[in-house]
Structure formats: C-alpha cells, structure tokens
Amino acid sequence: MSAPALVMAAEVQFTLPSVNYYAIAPILILFGAAVVSVLVEAFVPRGGRRPTQLVLVIGAIVAALVVTVDLRGTRLITGEGAIAVDGPTLVLWGALLVVGLLATFLMAERSVDPLGDAFAPRASALPGSEDEQQFTKRGFLQTEVWPFLLFALTGMLVFAAANDFLLMFVALEVMSLPLYLLAGMARRRRLLSQEAALKYFLLGAFSSAFFLYGAALLYGYSGSVNFVILSETLAAKPGEGTLVAVGVALVMVGLLFKIAAVPFHQWTPDVYQGAPTPVTAFMAATVKIAAFAAMLRLLYVSLGGLRWDWTPMLWIIAGLTMVIGSVLAITQTDIKRMLAYSSIAQAGFILIGVVAASPEGLASSIFYLIAYAFTTIGTFAVVSMVRNASGEATSLSAWVGLGKKSPVIAAVFSLFLLSLAGIPLTSGFVGKFAVFSAGIASGAAWLVVVGVIASIIAAFFYVRVIVLMYFSEPTEDTASVVIPSTFTTIALTAATVMTIALGVFPQWLLDIVEQAGVFVR
C-alpha cells in the first residue's frame, strides 16, 4: 500500500484541487456555523448560550436552505471528483435541512418537561448523584447539543453528496459521532440513554469498520476511491468478481446498518427508545435520508453495471426487513420501540424503490424518504408531549383512552399512524404506491407482494394504537398531553400539513423529484 503511494507522490505534481465553492456552500455554511457554535460554548456566558446557539443554528440551516434552493438546476462534480452536486443531491439536501430544522425546534422545546429541555443538565454528572440534582436545581442546560446537531447535519449533507469512498467514510463519521453522543444525553431515564449511546457507538463503529474495509478492497480493485472510476473499471475489467463482490458486500453492510435493514437492525429499538425523543426524531428522519442517499448514489453511479449481482441480495434484504420489522413491531409494548421497528419495516419499503435500479426507483425512493421523514418528526413530536409525572409515557398502557382526554393530539397521531400504515390520502400511501409501481415495473412483482403482506401485518399494530386511544376508556395510568411551546407546535403543524398535503396533492413533490433527474456521473 505504501509503496505505490510513495511512487505517486514522487511522480505527480501536487496541485490545489479545484472546488466550486458556491456549489458546496450549504455544507460550508453548516460547517462554519458548527465551528462558531463550539466557540459560542467557550466564550459566551452561560445565560446567553441557548439564545445565541438557537439563532446560530436556525440561521445557518435557513441560510443553507436558501442557497440550496438557489442552486437548483446545478449538475456538476467538484472537489476533484469527490463531491457531486446534482438534482437528487439538492432535493435530498433540501429535505435534510427542512427536516433538520423541524428537529431543531423539537430539541429547543423547554415547556413540556417542568425540569427543562429534553437533555441532561450535565451529561458528565453521574446519574442519580448529588451533582446531578444540583445541576438540575440550578437549571443548567447542556447547550453542547447544538454544535453536535450542526456537525451531524453537516456530515449528512456531505454523505448525500459524496462521490468517493474516502469522503463518504469521513462524512459517515462526522454524522455518526455527534449522534452517538446526543443519544446518551437524555434528561430522564439516563442509564437507558447511556446504554443506548454505548450500543449505538459500538455497533456503529463496527459497521464503519466494515465500510472502510470494503472501500479498501474496492480501491484495491479499481485503483481509485472515486465512484465514477470504479464504474468505468467494472466495465473495463469484468470477471475479477471476488474482490468486488466482497468489497461491495462489506460497504453495503456499513450502509445497511445506517438505514437499519435486517439483519443489521438490532441497535434500532434500543437506541430509539433510550435516546432523548427529539434526538430520536432527528435521527430517525435524517439519518434515513442521508444513508439512503449515499446508498442510492453508490449503487446507481458506481455499481450500476453490477446490478444483476446486487439486486438479488437487496431483494432478500428488503423482503426480510419489511416482514421482520413488521412482525416484531406487533409484540412491542413501548411506543418508541414500536416506532423503531416500524422504521425498520419502512426501510424495507424504501429498499423496494432502491432495488428497482431505474429512474422511477430513484424518484420514488426520494419521495418516500421525504414523506416518511415528515411523518416521523410528527410521531415523535407527539410522543414527546404525552407525559406523566415521571416524564414521557412511552408505555402503550399509558395511551389507553387518550382519544377521550386529548382528541386533537390523538387525531393527529392517528393521522401519522395511518400514513405509516399507507392508507390513501396520506403521504405514506403515495410513497408506497410510488415504490411499489417502480418495483413491479422493474420485474420484482413478488417483492411487492411481500411488501403488501408486510403492510397488512404493519397495519395491525398501527391500528392497535388507534384502538387503544379511541375505543377504551381512560384509566388512571393514562398519560396527559402537555401543551408545548411554539417550537413543537410549529414542528407538529408542519408534519401534519405535509402528511396531508403529500397525500392529497403530491404532484408538486413528484414533479420536483422527477425533474431532479438522475445522478451525475
């Protein structure tokens, strides 16, 4: 490894990579804001940190969004082939930023918990210790969550645009490390939260290593980490199968872990349950977008020629993910765990679009991701509001009769559940319809049949929650819905509006994803 590198260094004149800075401005804005955010932690007095950070985070996300919108129509590869800014990238960036903004609102919420926000006042204080009580009493806030959020979002943007393995790996780490930390910062049930963080970190580190190993093997095969060069090499040197097959398999392990596909899904329920609910919302919505974006680019740009090798593998994984996710969700008694298994099942549905390996497959996957992300933000926003004396009431028994106590919130939550179940006139239905039709058109009709069966199983547990909320009388264990501040209200309203709008009038977003076209190569 070192010998050819040395030779190259001797022969090749080092030139500054040419970078189209405006095309990657959204990334730079977020990254810059993240750095400033760290400085805010260091220099702004404690009382001023939260407002400063909030202005910074929201300002940076909005600015990045404005630039992303202004970039529409851009279609180029910059940074010496490392970053591709094209239609799909921009649509996914837009989705990541909007959803990230809504998650920011959820994280900024301070009204639902009488003790403060969703995060431990000092993550370093031992759970249950004297210190912790002191910090809580004095009303400390852990404002480091904001730089973490910005770094994670930066990583996701890069992940969605990365056009070579090295940058993709860096982005993977930049997006994952802050998430591991955020997952461990819950204010209540801290041990559960820390356990979740550790599990997420250990398994995530494993999967990153798999990814890196696979990337190295593919580099060994093509002599470059670039996706486009890999695809050209594959066309030029067919037949050297083993190295490629193992490399692709290992890289895919890393990505399938991030989207929580079976059999790499075990971390999901624990992490979703243990993490602070706003972080769960953020993670569930955005990581899925970013990881699917990376997977789509990798499969469509560099491994398109190998389609007949990876589609059977993904068929099986998609089928297993849908069925196992749905079946295990039935047995859950905790709403966050149930939503975690539901998110696994949803990943399987999106994989139907991915495995179609066609422009329709790409467009339908993106549509599904966006629809799912908004609904997810909404579901977790509701979860964060349903509380009893000890914090969020995530046990399903606390949701009994909620429809009587809080009809509006119960109705909104039912809407999200119906959308996840794929009932017509909700965004989830249009998404399912889109991926199913792409799947049938690509010849995977049997996979769609599996998807339909999984939908039926899934409908059962979504409906069960509606039954609990509406058809039973409230008991003394029934939780109450806390009236949130404007922050959560905005996020919840946006999620509700999008879930209905994308269900009843989906054409505008279908147009956007269709006009986004295919990946640049």
Partner: protein
C-alpha cells in the same frame, strides 16, 4: 349546462359533517337536525340528478367530470354514472336520512362517543359511498374504497355493543387485507397500461379493452376479486360480517350491509368483468361455486341463529351469493337481476335491521330471539313493518326483491340449468328462516315482561314508511329501475363479449351476444 352534480353530491354531506363536528358540545339535538337536513338535501339533489339521467344515452357515463389529480401516475379526479351506479347512489342517498331518523336516539349525550361524532361520521360515510360508486378512475375508486373503512371503523368501534372493539378491528383487518391485495393488482394494472399504451393510466375507459396477457390477467383479476369478495362478503371470506353487524348500531349495520357491501358486488360487475373479461370467464365456475356455497351456508346458519342481528348478517351472506351468481352467469337477465337485487337487498336489510333495532330499544337492547314472543299483540304496527321486511327478504312476489331474485334465477337457468335449479332450493331455506324469525318473535303468546311494550312512534314509522313503499311500488312496477339498469348491463355484456370472440354464452333470447354454439 355543466353542473358538477356528483361533486356537489359529495360536497354537501361532507360540508354537513364538518358543520356537525364543529357544533358546540352538548348540542346533540341540533347536531341531529343539521345532519338530517343535510342528508335530505343530498337526497333531493340525487333525485334532481336522477331525473335528468337519460337511460338511452349513447354515452357510457353521464354527469362526467374529469380533472387531473396526480398526473405523474396518470391519476385523475374523474366521476360519472351509468345506470348501475346511479341506482346504487340513489340507494345510499335514500338510506342515509332513513338511518339518521331511525337512529335519532341511538346515541345519547353522555354515553361514550359524542352524538355529533356519530352523525358527522354517518355524513362522511355518505359522501364516500357516493364517491365510490361515482368514480370512473380506478385509482379514485380505490381511494374511496379504502378511506370508507375509516368512518365505518369508528362507527362500529366507538358506538357499538360490548364486543365492538374486537368487531371493528376484525372488520378493518379483513378489509385492509382485501384493499392491499387490490392495491397490488392496481399497481400491476397501471404498469401493464404503461407498457401497452406508453403512458400509464387509471382511466376506466382506457383500461377497458386493454390487451392484457391472459396469465397476468388472471392474477390481476384475483387481486381485485378477493378485495370485492371480502367486501361483499362471499364464503369463505365472510367471518367479519356477523361480528360487525351484531356489534354495530342498527343504523351502522344498515349502511354497512345495505350499501357498503354492495361496493363489493358493484366492483365485480364494473371492474372485474369489464377490465378482465377473459379472466372473469376463466374463474366464473369457481365464483359460481362459491356463490352457491354462500347461498346455502348463509341460509343454513341463519336457520340456527338465536341472535337476530347475526341472523340477518348470515341471511345477507346468502343474498350476496345470489347477487354474485347473477353477475357471473353472464346473461343480461342475471346481471340486471343482480343490480335490482342489490337495491332490493339494501331496502330489505334496512327494514329488518331498523325494526330489529326498534324492538331492541324496547327490551333492554337484547337481540336474542328467545327474549321475544307475541310482539304482534303488544305492538301490531311494529309487527306489521317487520312482516313486510321479512317478506321482502324472502322475495315474496310483489316485493322488489322478487324481481331481482327471479331475474337472477332466470339468468342462471339460461346459462347452466343445474346451477339455477340448485340455487332455487336456497329460496326454500330463506323462507324457512325468515318465517321462523317472524313466528318466534311476533306470534304466539306474549312473552312475560313485554306487556307494556310501546308500539312504534311517529318518528319510527316515518323512517320505515319510505322503505316499505319503495319495496312494494318497485315490486309491482320495476320498470323505472330496469329501464335505467338494462342499458348499462347491455354495455357490460358487450364489453365482455367484444374481447371474447367466441362467447360461450348460450343464446339467451333477449341478450344479443348469444351468437356462439
């Protein structure tokens, strides 16, 4: 003049339901009045539309509206009616005010679920029922078909009997299974249409006559047919029906069995037959067998029921067997008879469930036959209406159901003599169980405890009279019904015949397709 009749018919009840839902709490009476008024307006509009319907128009659909909805998938908001859908819309529009009036006191303030919730849901359901029959875009039909589940689910689950939650979930899961199978077939159909015509479409007119590979056609047919067979329901997909009918309020049961289940049989004649003619013919023997089994299975179980509501549910299952039989024997009489039967069954189900409901409010909500006896002594008017309903259910000549049943059997005889012969035996069992119910509950010595039973009040009589009148008038003079239905059925028959160059239909006298053999 282009009045968007069908859209208005959907918007009026929908607006009514929104209004009812936003009435202040505790104004139960006002909610009922508003709901009733809106349902009457809808009925009046339906009548006004029906009067402008021209039975011998050259156009397949009338009152057509079409606007692009999701062009990316070739989906449009397209509605229109032919004779078949017109009579079913009229049935829905007639039954809703009847149900509201009859169920005036079914939900009281303070009990679980609010009054306004019940009546708002009924109006939503009315809008969706009209939509599902009016849709001429298959996707739009599917959307109505699925969304209808939600108000029905809440109507059963929030306002029903002690086992309501179980019944509601069972209903929903069965229906969702059917709906999702249909979704898979629907997407398949869309992909096929994209492959054949270049652009995918859901327009019914474009899908009729689409050349679909026979094997694929069979699969797609199954997707649609199973959804309809669960909805209708045919044996062996019926087990949700007795539970749902027994647990729901009588009014809900009327809408569920009287109208909603007709979507299944309507879907068979409209979508299965016309879009998949070859597959329909291929599967016809199996479907006919299922229909025959259903006729006997439902009737025999009805004979042994102790609970009136379950009994009527099983009897409906038997009737659905007749309707399906009429559709799949591929004769004009059979299919016209089926459509008449759908209307007739809607009316007789309404009469039976509503009178049973009136009985139940008088005897502590019991629907057990053993709790009744000799009611005709205490409440002769109630018993009289019950008799009319019962006779209509057993298809006594002079009742509209007789017209339907007779035509279905005639059609069946023309096609397969033995099928007609076997089905006729079913009528005997029908007579047996219907008369058994009447005898056990209404005749004989008055059951102790029923002495002070009130007879029907003015409101209750008002709600039953229109049904009884329609049943008898259309029974003696079915021409208005048949004049509207026959041209539509002729079209269905010619569509099925057109794609089938050598029809196996034997010459049927009146149907013009009997050229083969």
């Amino acid at each position: 003049m282009n009045v968007p009749w069908l859209t208005i018919l959907m918007v009026v009840p929908l607006a009514g339901s929104v209004l009812v839902a936003f009435l202040p709490k505790g104004r139960g009476l006002l909610a009922k009045q508003v709901a009733f008024a809106f349902s009457l307006v809808t009925l009046a509009l339906t009548v006004a539309m029906a009067l402008q319907f021209s039975a011998d128009s050259a156009e397949r659909f009338q009152f057509v509206e079409s606007h692009p909805w999701i062009p990316a998938f070739g989906i449009s908001y397209a509605v229109g009616v032919d004779g078949i859908s017109l009579v079913l819309i009229a049935l829905a529009a007639t039954l809703v005010p009847v149900v509201i009036l009859a169920g005036w006191n079914d939900v009281d303030e303070g009990s679980r679920g609010s009054v306004k919730g019940y009546f708002a849901l009924v109006l939503v359901l009315e809008a969706l029922m009209i939509g599902v029959f009016a849709a001429t875009d298959v996707f739009l039909f599917y959307v109505f078909f699925e969304v209808m589940l939600i108000p029905t689910y809440f109507l059963i689950g929030r306002f029903g009997g002690p086992q309501r939650s179980y019944a509601a979930v069972k209903f929903l899961i069965y229906s969702l299974v059917g709906g999702l199978l249909m979704l898979a077939a629907l997407i398949g159909l869309y992909v096929v249409s994209a492959q054949v015509t270049g652009t995918g479409t859901f327009d019914f007119g474009a899908l009729v006559g689409l050349e679909i590979d026979p094997d694929l056609q069979k699969l797609l047919f199954l997707g649609f047919f199973l959804a309809f067979a669960i909805k209708a329901p045919l044996w062996p997909f019926h087990t949700w029906l007795p539970d749902a009918a027994a647990e729901a309020k009588p009014g809900t049961s009327v809408l569920l069995i009287g109208v909603l289940d007709k979507v299944g049989t309507f879907g068979m004649i409209r979508y299965c037959l016309e879009i998949f003619p070859a597959a329909s013919e291929f599967y016809a023997p199996i479907v006919i067998a299922l229909a025959l089994i259903g006729i006997f299975y439902g009737a025999l179980l009805a004979l042994r029921q102790h609970d009136m509501k379950r009994l009527f549910a099983y009897s409906s299952m038997s009737h659905f067997g007749f309707i399906t039989l009429g559709i799949f024997v591929f004769t004009t009489q059979g299919q016209s008879g089926s459509v008449v039967y759908m209307v007739a069954h809607g009316l007789s189900t309404a009469a039976l469930f509503l009178t049973a409901g009136f009985l139940m409010v008088r005897v502590h909500g019991s629907s057990l036959l053993s709790d009744y006896g000799g009611v005709n002594k205490a409440a002769p008017v109630l018993a009289g209406f019950f008799l009319v309903a019962a006779l209509s259910s057993l298809a006594l000549p002079g009742m509209v159901s007789f017209v339907g049943e007779f035509l279905v059997l005639l059609g069946a005889f023309e096609r397969y003599m033995w099928v007609g012969a076997v089905a006729t035996v079913g009528i005997v069992i029908t007579a047996a169980y219907v008369l058994r119910v009447y005898q056990k509950s209404m005749t004989g010595p008055l059951k102790p405890g029923l002495e002070g039973m009130r007879d029907l009040g003015g409101r209750e009589v008002t709600s039953l009279v229109p049904i009884a009148v329609l049943t008898i008038v259309l029974g003696f003079f079915p021409a208005p019904l048949l004049n509207v239905i026959n041209p539509a059925v002729d079209r269905v028959m010619s569509t099925v015949g057109m794609t089938d160059p050598t029809p196996t239909i034997s010459s049927t006298g009146t149907s013009s397709e009997g050229s083969g053999q």
